[in-house]
Symmetry: C2
Subunit: 360 residues, 2 copies
Amino acid sequence: MIVKDISLNKIVQGIESVDEKWTEKARERTAQLVMPARALGRLHDISERLCGIQQTLEPSIDRKATLVMAGDHGVVEEGISAFPREVTGAMVQTFLKGGAGINAIARHAGAEVWVVDMGIIPELDQDLLEGGDRFLVRKVARGTDNLAKGPAMTRSDAEKSVLTGFELASELFMKGVDILGTGDMGIGNTTPSAAIGAVITGNTVEMMVGRGTGVDDEGLLRKQDAVRQGIHVNRPERGDGLDVLSKTGGFEIGGIAGCVLAGAYHKRPVVIDGYISTAGALIAYAICPAVVDYLFAGHCSEEPGHRVMLKHLGLDPILDLGMRLGEGTGGALAMGIMEGALKVFKEVLTFEEANVSGSK
Amino acid sequence: MIVKDISLNKIVQGIESVDEKWTEKARERTAQLVMPARALGRLHDISERLCGIQQTLEPSIDRKATLVMAGDHGVVEEGISAFPREVTGAMVQTFLKGGAGINAIARHAGAEVWVVDMGIIPELDQDLLEGGDRFLVRKVARGTDNLAKGPAMTRSDAEKSVLTGFELASELFMKGVDILGTGDMGIGNTTPSAAIGAVITGNTVEMMVGRGTGVDDEGLLRKQDAVRQGIHVNRPERGDGLDVLSKTGGFEIGGIAGCVLAGAYHKRPVVIDGYISTAGALIAYAICPAVVDYLFAGHCSEEPGHRVMLKHLGLDPILDLGMRLGEGTGGALAMGIMEGALKVFKEVLTFEEANVSGSK
């Protein structure tokens, strides 16, 4: 299966909707489990979707990975973030030390963590970093341009970021990863995500812009202004995912869109995380709507626009715990629930096996 | 620590509210973690509550157990359940074979499953059963009486069921169990639970009665009638937990109330499951309101009255996945989230350790 030097067109042509045949078969098995009809609610939906995606009644998500995509954002100069931009690179180093939220949650979920420099400003040498074997440098550029003043990147860099994400996710799938979580790191990246959300879902800037890592009231107004200006100046084309991505950014969001496309292309489940990952999924969805068949929403973020984005994708979040960290934390935490759902599907006896009479 | 032949009064006298000192210290540590302030939302609340309960900044829920309490219900003769009463005993046998929903989810969560015959109709010989070493026969009686016609049990049997639950949970805690989930099995037991909910929360019978395992419209009306009649005939005393329990039943609900009291008495966290477990928690709460400090709500059930019960206890459910199986499934699944929360609390570096600058 070719995953290098493949064009976006070829990728889209290679993506098929999930064949409902296996989902149907899975529903039949669920109906036989020794419990009232569909008594474990969404756990059944999850296991049946996994059967459909993997085309089997013995689905497995044993090998799990989270790809954390990092990038810097020119729009930070508009004063839209509570944290200085240096934090992007510092957090990448923290991921490699195993000391961040995603590391703790991924260890708990039994998921590998891979970190990608999609376009951060500092040059981190992967050979010198602790845990560097899981650090991949694929810098598209050293940070995006300021979306409030013009396009965040060229169309060609937008395509490159998507194809890079596709290639890296594809490599993980070909190494045997069964399920991929997407994660992000990039100071300022709720701003491009809000712009993407406003353009693609058609909702207002006010509804889409939240406080991110915690800006104050004035910062919130600056953030709304930046998004409004960015849309006004750049006029992104709603139906053209690459155009929206190039106008708003960022490189890590493009990388996430590539991961989402890769899941659908290789018929593997992808669990998106919060606001930024979902912005990436919106870009992928604009490029190829069939990707949603392979997507799970790990959680619903505290960022108010997130629910609207998920609704646009028709995804119901698995968790709703007031989280808003990103890094892939919500997706990795949800993998545990998905694995529980699969164990129910595969290990619970049928009424017949258990010799229990059904409902009257 | 005496746990046999202890009176309910002594138990209540032995329960203290959680000392906020450790919760406060835990909040200070959370504030230093290398992430925006409280960016993992409810995960922080969970880890901090566990610090408070265990009075440490190194809390652990490594050893987990679920106690599944089983009992039969006289009110089944009113035609209030979609399943025949024989299913109670048959499901107990399924638990012991390891083939039910709770077994699959508990294996996933790394929790032991203990099954207790609190008062089912059949006599299952524990020595003859596969997995019988985790089957405990503590029959209070062979099923309750029909609550629609009079008290489900005597006050003395109500007390006995609570003390039995207390004793068994205490034994598990003394064996080193760090966290206990409560589970239930008993065909018909959403009916007494609805009665308990209506009496203790003061809500209407219509609001509290749901479809349980799946009764049809006529069954739902019969169920409402049974609860209404039960309350009318028995006049349970809202403020007297044992009175409410004796009037409505059942033995497994009393056992669960005992588990909840045991958690608070031994200062260990207890995760309640769905509708029936929460009815047990309401009984324990009526006996001793301080128990809520030690309680976690694993999930919110599809049973419509459940949210109202949780609100009465001031508990926010961890999961909300449309589950309505009982058996302890929601509580056991939530333990995984709680463990993830603890790993974040204990493993994530501080800003200082990670050498990352804080917010501006």
